[in-house]
């Protein structure tokens, strides 16, 4: 079906939905690279105007790509509730989402009637304030060793990466983060090595630190999921099963992932948890995504990067994950060129994830070869905290010394919490109060690597202090 409109006397024609979707996106260098972006600002807006009048039924009936991800999304959606929204246009859906009674409909199952394609479509015609305001009431609460996502909470993953996976070095970064009240989302380490033996050692080391201080949180070593499962088979304690996923079958294949293998992996971890104690819930999966990954793997099938990202969320939600993380600025300038594009993508991803019912977080970050800086992360962090983002990263001094990029720091995360009156996960907060890092919800004077924090560090002789 061809789409067309006339804007200020100029006629614009779009060959099909896929072309319309690409042209209607906000500017992204990755869409330009893929050749799917609007060729002028006028064309971009013309596409948005046309898209706003497309019915959701039209989108539901015309998948833009055929693969196992499309099949999964189709199996997983609420068809019955979907029929009630088929007659709406994308523009009408935007207005419905912004209305105060939407949160009730969403909580009653509408999130499962909305498909990734629909989420991507409506996102393309929303402004930045829309994306923040619409996300804020959509709370997705999950649980594993603690609960994440309740209204008023703002979680932080401690990301204690080390260039050689040195356990003392990793441990020190974990403790540094805990002393800022971070770590409720997880202690999640990206290992430099994917060797099973190393991963086992790191899993034990992270669990040992958490057990020693008594913090109710989950640990994760973000190796390839097959490596984590191999570690599990050899006795490593696995709380969360991590994997990077994408929005097309081909992208997932480039990550060495099939959906069946992920299903099987999840079952193995659930079984493993039945043999261990202290789990409140069974949200055992942790996924990372990011706009541009499909194009990077040359696996986008002509689809724009926002639509591919939404489809990755379609994959994620079928696994009931504990958390999902859009690593928004990690991928580089060929996909998100600058500060403006990174901020837009971060707000889009968070909104789409929440609309689809995911416990959505964001690695607010940038690399050194992109036109962005610390001010970019400062700004996006505050916007996402206001938008009700489930969690962000905490990296010592914002500098990831293994992955070589800058994310948000312990200071940043703790500062956003204090500025906006947000708190850690309740179980974790109680622990922080019990060990004197927090008092009445505020960081104590000694917390955050002040001198009184040293006794806690002194309990770790392997650090050589």
């Amino acid at each position: 079906m061809t789409f067309r409109t006339t804007l200020r006397g100029e006629t614009f024609v779009f060959a099909d939905l896929r072309e319309l979707f690409g042209r209607a996106n906000e500017p992204k260098s990755g869409d330009q690279l893929a050749g799917v972006a609007a060729r002028s600002e006028r064309e971009r807006v013309a596409a948005k105007i046309v898209l706003a009048d497309v019915s959701l039924g039209e989108i539901l009936d015309n998948p833009m790509i055929e693969d196992d991800v499309t099949e999964l999304i189709d199996r997983d959606r609420d068809v019955e509730l979907g029929t009630t929204i088929r007659g709406l246009t994308v523009g009408e859906l935007r207005e419905m989402i912004l209305a105060p009674d939407f949160v009730g409909m969403w909580a009653d199952g509408m999130s499962r009637a909305i498909t990734p394609d629909i989420a991507a479509a409506v996102t393309k015609i929303m402004g930045a304030r829309d994306l923040v305001s619409a996300s804020a009431p959509l709370r997705v609460t999950t649980s594993l060793r603690n609960t994440m996502g309740e209204t008023g909470t703002f979680g932080v993953r401690i990301q204690p990466n080390h260039p050689t996976d040195d356990i003392a070095g990793v441990t020190l970064s974990v403790l540094d983060g805990l002393l800022f009240g971070c770590g409720d989302a997880m202690i999640g380490l990206n290992p430099a090595s994917d060797d099973v033996g190393t991963v086992i050692e790191l899993q034990h080391a992270l669990r040992a630190v958490v057990d020693r201080v008594g913090a109710p949180t989950q640990t994760c070593v973000l190796a390839h999921f097959t490596t984590q499962l191999a570690a599990l088979g050899r006795g490593a304690p696995i709380d969360l099963l991590f994997q990077s996923i994408g929005g097309t079958e081909q992208t997932n294949r480039s990550f060495g992932v099939t959906l069946d293998a992920l299903v099987e992996g999840r079952e193995q971890v659930l079984e493993h948890h039945r043999t261990r104690g202290d789990f409140l819930g069974d949200n055992v999966m942790y996924f990372e995504t990011g706009q541009g990954s499909a194009l990077s793997a040359e696996a986008h099938g002509g689809l724009d990067q926002l639509a591919c990202e939404a489809r990755a969320y379609g994959v994620a939600r079928s696994f009931d994950p504990f958390l999902v993380n859009s690593v928004v600025g990690f991928i580089g300038p060929e996909y998100l060129a600058d500060s403006r594009q990174i901020m837009r993508a971060g707000l889009e991803d968070h909104f789409m994830g929440k609309l689809l019912g995911l416990p959505m977080g964001c690695d607010v970050c940038y690399t050194n070869h992109v036109d962005a800086d610390q001010d970019t992360t400062d700004q996006l962090l505050i916007l996402l905290a206001v938008a009700g983002c489930n969690f962000v990263m905490g990296v010592p001094g914002s500098d990831d010394v293994m992955l070589n990029y800058q994310s948000t720091s312990f200071h940043d995360a703790a500062g956003a919490r204090e500025l906006l009156g947000l708190r850690p996960a309740p179980e974790f907060e109680a622990w922080l109060e019990s060990v004197g890092i927090l008092s009445h919800g505020r960081l104590t004077d000694g917390a955050g690597s002040g001198t009184t924090s040293l006794p806690l560090l002194g309990a770790f002789p392997e650090l050589g202090s």
Partner: protein, 267 residues
Amino acid sequence: MTGENAGAERGNLPAPRDGEQLRLREVTPARVLLGRAGLGYRTATQLRLRADHAAARDALSVRIDLDDPALAPLSRSLDILEVATRADSLATHLARPDLGRLLSDESVERIRSGCAPDMDLQILVGDGLSPQAVITQVPLLLPLLIAGAEARGLSVGRILFVRHCRVGVLNDIGEVLAPRAVVLLVGERPGLATAESLSAYLAWQPRSGHTDADRNLISNIHVDGVGISDAVTRILDFLGEFRLRDRSGFTIKEPARPGTGRTVQER
């Protein structure tokens, strides 16, 4: 530089408050134990982060010159052949990874006429996103790698330097020269703590269409990361595994230890 920072033991950390914290810091290059001003950074930290970011930004625009004193001895003794991808400028290289994965037509011709095909091992050196990493690490690593490969009886092809190089160029080399294994030594995106980090991407019989799932990676080769000799040993061990199993990629787990959850260098 502020006075507070002038006494720092490590370049990327502000001065410690006392000796105890200094010892603790020696276990990681991460920016731990920074103290705080309210919930902001102390002024020295704030400005140090800006200074390091400035250095990383500027490191991107360094241009590798094989006749430069740091590389000329190596380049001459090994008769390194310089070729280029279809990304013909730094700006294009950053914005168009697709062009950085393809050899220019002229380069394909130059390789065909200047290099022997069908070798056991073909080594490529690519500027990638940190020319500084190549200048610093490759003169140390490359001779050891060649010697180690030859000691294991492998035939090693003429070394190629690929300007404006992305990892995917491995596939093109596979198509043109049909080596059994390819090792690409390429500069990683510059970090704040170091702009000198090198990655080795390894592939068995690479061909057009192969992806990261078909490759193995040793990253973080620099002075505070994976050491040169360790890196060489790990590369050679991987090559042995590839040969044994007649494949590379994520199904090959490192004999003594690819990829993290995230790839450091985009393809």
